[in-house]
């Protein structure tokens, strides 16, 4: 329940009260006399008054109403009467509507016109523990299946694209390239520059103890170019673009837009997922190179500004530390991250349920999946490179 109520709340006005009393002209007839304001903001008598009375007297076969004293009524009166009607039907007592105000009688008829559909009501049964374990295991297995199927379909779409047969709109691709490329530059600049600075700071403190502060250039250069550039670009893109993909596709799912594509014979995989994936895979290596540069620049600022290393000296030291294979490893990783982020974003978007909160979940889950995938992939690449001795 919302805890911050708006200013204007209708308190139950003390002046407004509803009254109930009874009269019994004959053994089997009970007249319920209703008086006052029967509205939701009035003080209503307890609902089981009538039932209590029935229990107390017994033998009543017919209930009628006298409502001349009612000054005002709304849904509150209806819910009250529905309860009385319910009690009556349980005890097999006639419920006479003639004494009720005309509108009330009509609404009551309307409310009882359509009987509750059998089996419509949802039952909340608490499953036994083992059932729940089993179900979540099956769910887990199904989601792995789904993910694999999605990856497979994406691969097929990619092959079709390579064969020049994939159908998507070229202007979409251009738009996505702009969104994942140029539009991401400011945030990538900020993050990579800061990471370069931080690496240099932390490294400098240690290296100065040996008087080897020049090697800050090696530290920053190698770690940025080999891993951190790609990882930072990847994480920025996961938060920025992966989330956007999931939200876009999720909203399309909610609006049945994806169904509309399917029924037109257009594969959502080619039309929606492929251009997004291509755009990210094309832009990630470029973003990675840019992030590398920014990181090195960050290191250079610390090196030249704080450690009194000459500008040329720092640059030469960096160049000597790097080689082409480091650079390639970084770029290839960035490409892999691009695939992962795009897949995670699109997968979660396509799996989205049909509600606003499902879109939220899809977005969150896309970001989490992307980041986990990026870290795991980095681990694998690092180990593989180590084994291969690169």
């Amino acid at each position: 329940m919302p805890n911050s109520k708006p200013k204007v709340v209708e308190k139950s006005t003390p002046g407004k009260t509803a009254n109930i009393s009874f009269e019994q002209p004959a053994e089997e007839i009970l007249h319920v006399i209703l008086k006052g304001a029967w509205t939701i903001n009035a003080q209503l008598p307890p609902a089981d008054e009538v039932e209590k009375r029935l229990v107390a007297t017994g033998g009543v076969r017919r209930i009628g109403f006298k409502t001349d004293g009612i000054s005002d009524w709304d849904s509150a009166l209806l819910t009250f009467l529905l309860k009385v009607a319910d009690v009556c039907s349980k005890r097999d007592i006639d419920f006479e509507k003639n004494g009720l105000p005309e509108g009330v009688a009509r609404l009551l008829a309307l409310a009882t016109a359509v009987a509750e559909r059998k089996g419509a009501r949802k039952k909340t049964v608490r499953e036994p523990f083992l059932n729940r374990v089993g179900e979540s295991a099956i769910g887990w297995w199904l989601s792995i299946n789904e993910t694999l199927a999605f990856v497979g379909e994406a691969a097929i779409a990619l092959l079709k694209f390579a064969a020049g047969k994939a159908s998507f709109r070229r202007q979409d691709l251009v738009l996505f390239i702009q969104q994942c490329g140029a539009d991401a530059l400011p945030i990538v600049t900020l993050i990579s520059l800061l990471v370069g600075l931080i690496l240099a700071f932390v490294g400098a403190v240690q290296l100065m103890m040996f008087g080897a502060q020049l090697y800050v250039a090696n530290l920053v250069g190698i770690s940025m170019v080999r891993v951190m550039g790609a990882v930072m670009a990847g994480i920025v893109m996961a938060g920025r673009t992966g989330a956007a993909f999931a939200a876009q596709l999720g909203t399309m799912q909610v609006n049945e837009e994806i169904d509309a594509l399917k029924t037109m014979g257009i594969s959502p995989m080619e039309f929606l997922v492929l251009p997004r994936m291509l755009a990210l895979v094309l832009m990630m290596p470029l973003l990675c190179i840019y992030a590398d540069l920014m990181g090195v620049l960050g290191g250079l600022i610390v090196g030249v500004g704080m450690l009194d290393i000459g500008l040329i000296q720092y640059i030469n030291q960096t160049r000597a530390a790097l080689n082409i294979s480091f650079f390639l490893i970084g770029i290839i990783q960035a490409g892999i991250f691009g695939v992962l982020v795009a897949l995670a974003g699109c997968l979660r978007g396509m799996q989205c349920g049909r509600s606003a909160s499902a879109v939220g979940q899809a977005t969150t889950s896309a970001v989490v999946t992307s980041i986990v995938a990026i870290i795991v992939a980095t681990g694998i690449v690092t180990v593989v490179c180590n084994v291969l001795g690169i």
Partner: protein
Amino acid sequence: MADNKPHIIVKDLTMAFGSFVVQRNLSFTINRSDIFIIMGGSGCGKSTLMRHMIGLIRPAKGQIFYENVSFWEANPDQRDRIIRKVGVLYQSGALWSSMTLAENIALPLQQYTNLKPGQIKELVALKLALVGLAGFDDYYPSEISGGMQKRAGLARAMAMDPEILFFDEPSAGLDPISARLLDDLILELRESLGATVVIVTHELASIFTIGNNSVFIDADAKTMIAQGDPKKLLAESKNPVVHKFLTRGEG
């Protein structure tokens, strides 16, 4: 039933998005307990007019009076009070997708009253029963059909026992029988609650069976070109556009 006290008065209203004028010089009066129809071709500004009347869009010019209070000149408190006497059924249902039907209907009750959860539950059950959805309390909007969503939207619009009900194309997308039932329901609600009902529609069947007053707005003229009881309009209107519309182009 219809005592002829004005309930809503629209005076010299001009609606525009930026420099694009949708309609100008709209003036009409909706009386208490009227079933008032806003009609006109697609895209002429019916929904936009409704959104002006329920306080979602500020008029470019003109006023909207609720019982002599000019809505857009009133202070926020007054506006709040007016708006709470209004129930709206949106064109697409607009149920909150992440809440169950019961939660959808309960939300305004929780916000604006001090009722106990048990009482709210009873009221919710009543509203659902009134629209023929008894027992569907725990369903999410995505789990029920379009027609049921419309009816659930109606139940939500009625949650606070409003004095004025607005409907945007209530029967669009419904089968003829459901559409007819919805019309009956609207009539029944008007009869029993005495509510004023404003309906945006171009269903001729509904227009003639339930409407007792109307305004016809036209996209080309960019203003209203007829008003009054739709049955009278059909019989008497000399305007070819109105006549064509009300006879489905059969002249």
